[in-house]
Amino acid sequence: MLPKTAQIRLMSSHPEVYDPCDDSFALVDALLADRANLLEHRPSICMEVGCGSGYVITSLALMLGKDSSGCHFIATDINPHAVCVTHKTMEAHGCYAELVITDIASGLETRLAGSVDVMVVNPPYVPTPEYEVGQFGIASAWAGGENGRSVIDKILPVADNLLSDKGWLYLVTLTVNNPSGICLQMRKKGYASRIVLQRSTEEESLHIIKFWRDLDIQLEVSECTALNKTDHGVILNSLLSRVPRLPFWSRDNCGSH
């Protein structure tokens, strides 16, 4: 039986590249658990932002069947050593991905907009001082700035731009990143979300979130935008719609700013 995930013995490595760790394994476990859905999803383009050692993108390619359904894989990393290591790791497993050394998806954003069916991201999520963010060496693998959100917050709008209508995003977060806050932020862009895997290790509590576009949420969002309501107004209106109509409680009296 062909292995469905990358094998450690075949992994390439480099002192400046993040070796697969608990978070990488958790993300791959989450993808494995969703494998049946992923296969049914029939993605044309899968993308990893921040490929590191290549463990995740290689595993994704293996579990989707490297020669089935013509799915193409793209991976990026800001660290040139990481992309080189990913290249070797993929080769060792007989897989192939289009690799680009770049900051998130810079250079790909215009043309790849709305084309990515599956995106996987294990971002630098560790809370660090801001100045450590975006350095080119191995620190780029973990340095996440305030609450570990600096790079996550840069990635989310890029993901929103790149994901197709049926696109799915899998994101690794820590509790300190405020996963529910991230879900709320994404909801405002029309995404439903679910924590597909939660894992506590000695050092950290990981939450792997899956996002997908939801029509009902998108309609809700566009209605709110059209009527120019704030969150406050939306909640108020929603509550008031449950209250029996009295003249001074009419919906027209509230939510206008």
Partner: protein, 122 residues
């Protein structure tokens, strides 16, 4: 780097409005045979900028692609094979991608393009 990727890359330099397609400077081209997948080609076709693909494949030494293409041509096996060959089987191993507006070169080494910008280009 496949031409599929080249077709998806544009110059990310600040202020550039005409960054696609990137010009290709060839140092080494490699052909790697891969089984073609019709579904994938059909899915990708509407997203491909055809002229850019034709131009790029010619720079890489492949002249078989028709000047223009439309989706009805996907019913032709011959067309599919040529499309597949240009898009998927030609690799730029060594060379550079050049911003059409500024002339700035993005190196391609071992088939991997480096799109990292300097501080003043961001």
């Amino acid at each position: 780097m496949r031409l599929l990727t080249h077709n998806m890359l544009s110059s990310n330099i600040k202020g550039v409005t005409n960054g696609f397609p990137l010009l290709i400077e060839v140092e080494k081209v490699v052909e790697k045979q891969v089984d073609f997948n019709e579904d994938f080609l059909r899915n990708m076709f509407p997203k491909i900028e055809w002229k850019a693909l034709v131009e790029a494949s010619r720079t890489m030494g492949y002249t078989e692609l028709p000047e223009n293409a439309e989706s009805s041509m996907l019913d032709s096996d011959e067309f599919l094979r040529k499309f597949h060959h240009a898009l998927i089987e030609l690799h730029l191993e060594e060379g550079a991608l050049v911003c059409p507006e500024t002339g700035r070169k993005f190196p391609v080494n071992k088939g991997i393009p480096n799109m990292l910008l300097h501080e003043d280009e961001v």
